[in-house]
Structures are given as C-alpha cells and as structure tokens.
Amino acid sequence: MSHSQRNPGGPSKRKKITVNYMARVEGEGGLDIRFRNGKVEDVKLNIFEPPRFYEAFLRGRSYTEPPDITARICGICPIAYQMSSTHAIESIVGIKPTDTLRELRRLIYCGEWIESHVLHVYMLHAPDFLGYQDAIRMSKDHPDLVKKGLRLKKIGNEIVNTIGGREIHPINVRIGGFYKLPTKKELIPLQNHLEEALELAKEMVTVTAGLEFPEFEQDYEYVCLRHPYEYPLNQGRIVSNKGIDIDVSEFLDHFQEEQVKHSTSLHARIKERGAYHVGPLARYSLNFDRLSPLAQEAAQQAGLGETCYNPFKSIIIRSVETLWAVEEALRIIDNYSKPEKDYIEHSPRAGTGHGCTEAPRGILYHRYKTDEEGLITDAIITPPTSQNQKMIEDDLWHFAEKYTELPDEDLKWKCEQAVRNYDPCISCSCHFLKVTVDRDGKVSKV
C-alpha cells in the first residue's frame, strides 16, 4: 500500500485532512431533502428495494415453488405473492381454477386485505393522525378503539388461517388450487365472527371519516385492475384513469423500471409518461361502481365522492375496502360447498406466464419463464410499493414545498405521515425512514 507522492507546494490555503470515513449505504438514509435559499431543490426517496434476490434465486427452481418462496418477500401480504405467482404459473401450464376454487382464493385474499388494512389503519396510521407514537400508547386513552381494531384484525387473520393453514406464509396454496379444502362445517365459526366483523368494519369507516385531513390533492394517474363485475382481487384487465386498458400479459410493454442515478432504487413509470399511483385510492376511484351497496353508502356517508385524489384520505378508503372485504367473505362462505378435487392436475411446460393481482397496497405483477422440465429460467417481480416510489417522492416534493418553514423534526414527522398514506410495507422498505435535511449545505440527520 503506498501513497502517491504529492507536490508539497501549491497555494498556501490548501489543507489536507485525514478522514478515514467508512461509507454507509445511502439506502439506509431513507429520505433526503435538499433546500437551497428556502426552496426545495431535490427530494430523493430511497427506501424500497426491489426483490432482486428473489428474482435471482428463483432461477433453476421448480415451477411449483414460487408460491412458497415469493411469499417470503413480504410477511404482511404473503397471500398477494402467492396469488400473483400461482396465476402466472397457471397461465404457463394451461390451467385455470374456476368456480369454488376461484372463490376460495378470493376469500383468502379478503382475509389478507382485512388483516393488512386494519393493521395499517389502527396500528400505524391512526396513531399518527391522533398524535400518538403507537397504538399501545393510543390504547391507554382509547382502549376500546384499539381492542376493536385488534379484534377485527384477528378475524381477518382467522380467514387466512382457516383457508391457508397459518396467518403468515400460509402453506395451503398451490398451483392448481389448494392442498386441502375446508369443509363447510369448518367455515361456520368464521361466518359467526364475520357477522361481528361487519359491525366493527362499519365503525372503522365512521371513526376514520372523523379524522382531520389536510387539503392536498394531486392529479394522479391511477393504475389498477378492472373486472367485468367484481371489485378487483385476482383477475381483470389493467386500466388507468388516463387511457390505459391492457391485458395483464402486456404489463411490461407499458410499464418499466429505470435505475435512478446513484441509488439502489428503481423508479417505475409508464412508458413515455411518468409516475403512477397504485393501491386503494386507485382501485376505489376506478371501481366505485363495483363496490357493494353497503360499502358505497358507507363511503358516501364518510364524505367521499366516487373518486378521491387526496392521499391522506386513503385511511378512509382502506376502511371502506375492509368493509367490502368482510361482506365479500360472508358472501363466499354462504355460497360455499366443498368441491370434489382440492386442485387441478397439471404438468410442467415451457413458456412465459404473467400474473397480476391486487395486493392490499396495489397491483403486484409477476412474470415467469420456464423450460420443458418446469424449471424457472427467468423471474420478474414488481411489488406495489416500489411502483409507488416515484409517486411518493413527488408527493413529498410538494409537501416539503408547503412546509419549508418547519423545523426539521416536525418536517420529518409530516413527511413520515405523507409516506404512511401509501402504507409502505416495511419489508419492501428495508429500513425505517431516516431523514436527511440539507439546508444550503448544512446537513442534519433526523
């Protein structure tokens, strides 16, 4: 190890400093806001890592493995990954679960929507709105509220547990259907609890509607699934409020990810357009007519129109979706009768398959390529939260502009709230939000 020789001469004000500073992954920085002369010069959000490992590890694995492996991308929405992957693989091997198998998949997805939305609303978002650090502290002042939230979340989990085997990383989902179908008798206890859940969900809408919301609207391009008659879960065409209407297999023709300079994040954009917004607001605004009458009424009573462009009101929309999911679950259980076969037989095939389903946070797209032995040769997985990253960054830009005068600590809280509107799966974001504010060169980490 040798240091190059430097000419010790030169301008006398030159100074040499020994630093020995070990570089840190900026991704752990989270959010960087740069102000110059009181105006926002740059906002960089960098917390959502795409599941690169998984795309790589899936190569060489059997086509039956993605449901279990991709579930581990997210502990809060594993069903979404199981659904998107099974649909993608099933399109390769040429099978399509219909009728009851299809309904059961919607049922287990409803369970996840309920669990995920309630977790977010009660444990993370509502405390923010009401000024608490967390739901535990909130429960000291609002014990009933939190208990009810936990109860409703538990019922959502019960659905996943009953159909899937366990709440986190369920084991019963497979290519072609399920390993073991429930009997009608096994669903009866669920039915009773769901009646209870209906009341709790209605209350949830009322409670969230009563919160205070900042006036903040953006002209989003919403992207979601749209189905001929259902509020979208597993099937539909991909549509937007600005003209997109494509089959799931055309996803990559219209949406692309580009590497952002000097960071590990990718920005998803609509080709030749820009950032787009997926999730409950998108679904709601483009599928209001597909909601049940009860859910529609609850939404209207909560003060919502048929569309919504204020991301802070996502908390109400999640509550409305929870209500709809409870109803949908009841409907499916009412009509359930155990089919003959737990799953459709299949054999490996070479090909390319696409799957796009509505995770609680928005559309989740999977694409797989397999060979004749059924081994995966390529995998692409696009989670909703990484699709929203550019969108969130844009929102934060506008937000930071509004609140330049705030002290850094308060600015950070406001920014966190804005990020929370998108219900970022903390696992898609590998780190807790760390904010770095640079005002005319003075950097402070909050």
Partner: protein
C-alpha cells in the same frame, strides 16, 4: 448493488467536510477499497468521474487504492482516507 449507495454517501461526506472547513472545493481525494468491497478501482473511478460534475469535487484528483487482503477487518469497506481542500 450497495456500492452505488456507498458511493453516494461518500460524495455527501466530501461535500460536508468541504463546507465544515469553510473551503471552496476539494482538490484531492484518496480512497481505499477493501478486497471484498464489491467494486473495482476502475469501476469506482468511472462512477466518480460521472458524479463529480457540478459538485465541490469537480476538479479533484482521485487516488484509489485496492487493499488485497481479504482477512483485513475492513475488507468489505470503502474508506474515504484523506481530502485536500482549498
């Protein structure tokens, strides 16, 4: 691809040090790369040349050293060793 992040962090640090010392620019930077740091000196230099444009390091000379010892405790690190400022 963490080396891109690490790189960005290092550039920030350079900026910070220049500002803290009331200097105007960096004239020389020396960096040490560990044997397991996942980025080669050539690769690092490429990134640097691209990134320095418009920053306080725009006219800085760069010296990059590769430490070949994989058993070095800092083998996975990228270390900003010294900065010369004016």
């Amino acid at each position: 691809m963490h080396e891109l992040s690490l790189f960005a962090d290092m550039m920030n640090k350079v900026h910070q040090i220049v500002v803290e010392n009331n200097a105007e620019r960096a004239t020389h930077i020396s960096v040490e790369l560990g044997a397991l740091s996942h980025i080669s000196p050539g690769h690092f230099r490429e990134h640097f040349d691209e990134a320095k444009v418009g920053t306080v390091a725009e006219h800085a000379e760069l010296d990059v050293f590769q430490n070949d010892d994989p058993n070095d405790p800092n083998a996975q690190e990228m270390i900003l060793q010294t900065i010369e400022l004016e």
